[in-house]
């Protein structure tokens, strides 16, 4: 009910009085209102506007953290193309489980909570019950002879399979080990040749992402990154591509040593059970089963070995072209020489110049040596490659012979 309006002849009383003097009192130290009172009086000088401002800011800051009804934890929406929707649930092992759940932007980084959210979203859209409700529309289409399978729950089955895989931590790791996107990425590795060429690719931007993506398999987390950590958060592309400038020598050396130490002793959980051949369901022959199991086991071991060799090759390559190693060696030598020179003749410009000249000469020698060492290394690499090729050829021959015999 609205209150009646002011009378037409209204005029407020002329004399005003002050507030009655305030009384003293105390407050009981309990309850959320008391906390709010403390906030207003102690932190915001009793000003409600300041308090409102601060609480609004705090709420805004906390909003993304608190998962309300609408918050999907950053799962988002992904487009579903025809190829994805026509996936065959029988071929579930070959499907990209993350793509099916619409998590391909997160992949191995997706948390269990995000997987749950993503699954729910997909189920809401693709549940067979939902499809059935669209029947009326599609009935017309099918009457016209168009082939629209209304009862097709194939993609829903794919979703369920993907959810099953990704919610079981062990099976998820098995899938992550052979994640198709990762397999694509590891083909894209700079070769030694590129670094040998006249204008080699920048060191840091080409190697940092490689180690970044390999680090997901490490049993010990977090892993040391290639770049020397800095206090300021500088994006990778703005940094010195050789990652030498702007670091203290001691920290640089310590980090580089720790980095190579870690990656040469890399302890990976990557495994290849996912690629196992299925035991033929039809046969109950124990021998068959054992044979396949044995085959799978040796295949897993072979793949693991290959993977270890691959990572090692990467680290080798990185080490061989790391400008920081050169820098460290040179710097240490200079220090040694400066010390020696300092001991031989104390002061004296001539002495200094001589020392500098000597240092320069040494540097040249050093460079020569490095080059020679590299050549040597290359030679051995080539030799190795040759041997490997020979080996492979031998293997192929043997396989062919085996096949012949089998036939």
């Amino acid at each position: 009910m609205a209150i009646a309006g002011l009378p037409a002849d209204y005029s407020p009383p002329a004399s005003t009085s002050k507030l009655t003097p305030l009384a003293k009192g105390s407050l009981i130290a309990a309850g959320p209102a008391f906390l709010a009172h403390l906030h207003v009086t102690k932190l915001h000088d009793g000003d409600h506007k300041k308090y409102d401002h601060a609480t609004a800011a705090a709420r805004a800051a906390a909003a993304p953290l608190s998962n309300g009804v609408e918050d999907d934890l950053g799962v988002g929406e992904e487009s579903e193309d025809e190829a994805l929707l026509s996936l065959d649930p029988k071929e579930w092992k070959k499907q990209d489980q993350y793509r099916v759940l619409g998590l391909s932007h997160l992949r191995w980084r997706a948390t269990p909570a995000q997987i749950k959210v993503a699954h729910r979203k997909k189920v809401l859209r693709h549940h067979p019950d939902k499809k059935a409700s669209d029947k009326a529309e599609t009935a017309v289409a099918s009457a016209l002879g168009l082939n629209i399978n209304t009862n097709d729950d194939a993609f829903f089955k794919c979703i369920q399979k993907a959810h099953e895989v990704l919610t079981n931590s062990e099976r998820r790791r098995q899938f992550d080990s052979v994640d198709p996107q990762f397999l694509e990425e590891i083909d894209d590795v700079p070769t030694e040749k590129e670094f040998k060429s006249k204008n080699p690719p920048p060191f840091l931007p080409s190697f940092a992402p490689i180690f970044e993506r390999e680090s997901r398999f490490s049993k010990t987390q977090p892993t040391p990154g290639l770049a020397v950590p800095t206090s300021a958060d500088v994006p990778l592309r703005d940094r010195d591509p050789n990652d030498i400038e702007g670091h203290e020598f001691a920290t640089l050396k310590a980090h580089v040593e720790a980095f190579y130490d870690f990656w040469y002793n890399f302890d990976s959980w990557r495994s290849f059970e996912w690629l196992d051949k299925e035991v033929n369901e039809g046969s109950d022959s124990r021998d068959d089963k054992r044979y396949t199991e044995k085959k799978n086991k040796s295949e897993r071991a072979r793949r693991k070995k290959e993977d270890i060799a691959r990572v090692r090759g990467l680290v080798d390559l990185c080490l061989s072209v790391d400008p920081r190693i050169k820098h460290i060696k040179q710097h240490e030598k200079e220090m040694r020489e400066a010390k020696k020179a300092g001991g031989a003749n104390k002061g004296g410009a001539a002495g200094n110049a001589a020392a500098a000249a000597a240092a320069k000469k040494k540097e040249e020698e050093e460079a020569e040596k490095v080059r020679k060492a590299k050549e040597e290394e290359e030679k051995t690499e080539a030799k190795k490659a040759k041997a490997a090729a020979a080996n492979a050829a031998k293997k192929a021959r043997r396989a062919a012979r085996a096949a012949e015999e089998g036939a």
Binding site: A2, S17, A23, A29, K42, L43, S177
Partner: protein, 633 residues
């Protein structure tokens, strides 16, 4: 050969345990006779929980029987046959010196003695059986020669144990904490425990130490009024956020504490309080002894077996204790339902069983002295702070005895509260662990406070100290209200009166009132003007004598009460004019036919009372400022 690590890696990684975001805190109401615990349940609400024996009210008792130790309600039956090894009432002895303890009232439990080694320290001495010493370790080499060592005894060894009240409290709290962490399934991060306001700092320290020895971090020791406040201002409480005046009636086993608190937007400002203990006819124990007398008489009448009260012989004491324990259930039944409560004790005295029932009417008649004692205490408290019972908006009952509907009825009729006063009975939040249940109010408040303190510690640790001391504030001495001239006049103030800031509102304060007003100053959409006055008012009570209307049919009944009935009416008188807010705003046309052509607007009127005592009134319409008033102190 040692097994080689499999070369193809291992996909197994330690599973992360799920973290739930409920605060792992416990609120403990530690009374002298009974305790209760509250935690956050899965629904995210603080609730008083039952321990593993299914008891929500846990007796503060510890009994030693041979190798066994009983804690809680299981210890109570031990009072019958094993009284000298049963410890009760240890909370009130916390932190007290032996010489300070009043030994005059005989207790049925283990006597308090002087600690044998520590000077001036009270202690309990209980007989226990120590577990049998473990058999001697057999020698490594098996030898046919007989051992020289005597064969170890396989029976437990009788011995005595000296317990200080503090150690007893630690044992008891540890069992409460165990129940709470079993319920939550995770370790407890912190606890808030009640401590009566009568506790000295030494006693509070002793309680804190006892709790810390029990293995929990004490976030705060809360007095009862504060714990009640925490519960009654929470969103779980009906009308929790409203401004009101509250009377807390805490009827303990042996004490009564009353406090009147002005609740202003969740802030509690105590207006007056009173604690009386060891007074005649106060508390649950007094009620029990009245009932014991009644039933003892009944027993003698029924069975011709003497059960003198007060008991003198050992057997009489035992019978009385049995009766007391059985009465506990009678009292609870009487609180819970209107049907007659039964009492039955097997072999009460000289092998004679006793069964009786008591109707609620009879029960209330017996308990009348206790009820009267409570109501007279309330009357004298209200008189001492010159507050009319009519001004109390809510009564909050605390303690098991306050569960009795008879007490509520007696207080409402004899003290003279107004008819709309809110109690746990009127809002039907009584019983079975509901929020208003007098037995759970304190522990729920403690749990709420514990969760709050845990959050404060994380977010702004600099404020945590303020929770330890009482905060001194200034409050306004008179109610400030708005008067809309020309409006319907219910209070005789020359307009519609809307209270804005009630008396005792602490500074700083802010209230926003939404008011729909009819605009004036022209016809149709030209009407844009609104206005109201801001006044200081004084609220009072007018007592009118009225002769009750006689209805012809009930003439016989009415003859006796020809007295005039007192009718209390709240009055409001203007005291000081602070200013007027006049403004203009655009309104919307009224839909209904009676007021066709009128325009109304919804105003948000914000009253802000600064720390310096300045009052700022701002009227807004659709987020736009349309009028304001500033009053300097």
């Amino acid at each position: 050969m040692a097994p080689k690590p499999t070369p193809n890696g291992n996909a197994a990684q330690p599973a992360e345990d799920a973290h739930s975001n409920l605060p792992a805190v416990v609120g403990i109401n530690l009374g002298n006779a009974y305790a209760s615990i509250a935690v956050y349940t899965k629904e995210g609400l603080a609730e008083c929980i039952a321990n593993e024996n299914g008891e929500r009210q846990i007796a503060c008792a510890i009994a030693f029987h041979g190798e066994e130790i009983y804690v809680g309600n299981q210890a109570l039956p031990q009072l019958i046959k094993n009284a000298h090894n049963t410890i009760t009432g240890f909370r009130n002895l916390l932190g007290k010196k032996f010489s300070e303890i009043d030994q005059s009232t005989a207790s049925s439990s283990s006597p308090i003695i002087q600690h044998p080694t520590e000077s001036d320290t009270p202690a309990y001495k209980v007989d226990i059986l120590q577990p049998a010493p473990s058999p001697l370790p057999t020698s490594a080499t098996t030898t046919p020669a007989a051992s020289h060592a005597p064969t170890p005894r396989s029976e437990p060894v009788p011995s005595t144990r000296i317990l200080t009240p503090q150690e007893a409290t630690t044992m008891f709290l540890a069992s409460l904490l165990q129940s709470a962490s079993d319920f939550l399934g995770k370790p407890i991060l912190g606890a808030v425990i009640t401590a009566p306001p009568s506790f000295t700092p030494a006693q509070k320290d002793a309680l804190k130490k006892a709790a810390e020895d029990a293995g929990v971090r004490v976030l705060q020791l809360l007095d009862e009024a504060s714990a009640v406040l925490a519960t009654t201002t929470s969103p779980q409480w009906p009308h929790g956020g409203e401004d009101r005046t509250q009377l807390v009636v805490d009827v303990g086993a042996s004490s009564l504490s009353l406090s009147v608190i002005a609740l202003r937007a969740g802030l509690g400002h105590p207006i007056g309080s009173r604690t009386s203990s060891n007074t005649a006819n106060i508390g649950g124990d007094a009620l029990s002894s009245l009932l014991v007398k009644h039933f003892a008489k009944e027993f003698t009448k029924k069975t011709k077996t003497e059960l003198p009260q007060p008991p003198s012989s050992k057997e009489d004491i035992r019978a009385t204790t049995k009766l007391l324990l059985a009465l506990e259930y009678t009292k609870r039944t009487s609180s819970a339902s209107a049907s007659p409560a039964s009492l039955s004790v097997e072999s009460l005295h000289s092998g004679v069983d006793f069964t009786a029932t008591i109707a609620r009417m009879r029960f209330d008649l017996l308990a009348a002295p206790v009820y009267t004692a409570v109501s007279s205490e309330i009357k004298s408290l209200l008189e001492s702070i010159s507050l009319d019972p009519h001004d109390i908006d809510e009564i909050t009952y605390v303690g098991g005895t306050a569960c009795l509907p008879g007490l509520d009825g007696h207080l409402l009729s004899s003290v003279g509260f107004n008819e709309e006063v809110q109690t746990a009975f009127s809002t039907s939040t009584m019983g079975s662990g509901a929020i208003g249940d007098p037995t759970g109010v304190l522990s729920i408040g403690c749990a709420l406070q514990a969760a709050l303190l845990l959050r404060v510690q994380e977010e702004s640790p600099e404020l945590i100290e303020a929770f330890e001391q009482t905060e001194q504030v200034e409050t306004i001495a008179r109610t400030i209200g708005m008067i809309f001239p020309g409006g319907a006049d219910a209070h005789g103030l020359g307009g519609t009166y809307i209270p804005a800031l009630y008396k005792y509102t602490p500074l700083p304060a802010r209230r926003i009132h939404e008011v729909e007003v009819t605009l004036s100053g022209g016809e149709g959409d030209k009407a844009t003007k609104f206005g109201f006055e801001v006044w200081e008012v004084e609220e009072g009570i007018k007592v009118e004598k009225a002769i009750p209307l006689k209805s012809d049919s009930q003439d016989d009944d009415e003859d006796e009460e020809d007295e005039e009935e007192e009718i209390k009416i709240k009055t409001t008188t203007k005291r000081g004019f602070l200013g007027a807010v006049l403004g203009e705003t655009k309104g919307t046309a009224v839909k209904d036919k009676a007021n066709k052509g009128a325009y109304t607007a919804v105003l948000q009127i914000e009253f802000t009372l600064g720390l310096d005592g300045s009052l700022h009134v701002e009227a807004r319409s659709n987020g736009e400022k349309v009028g304001e008033l500033e009053i300097q102190p």
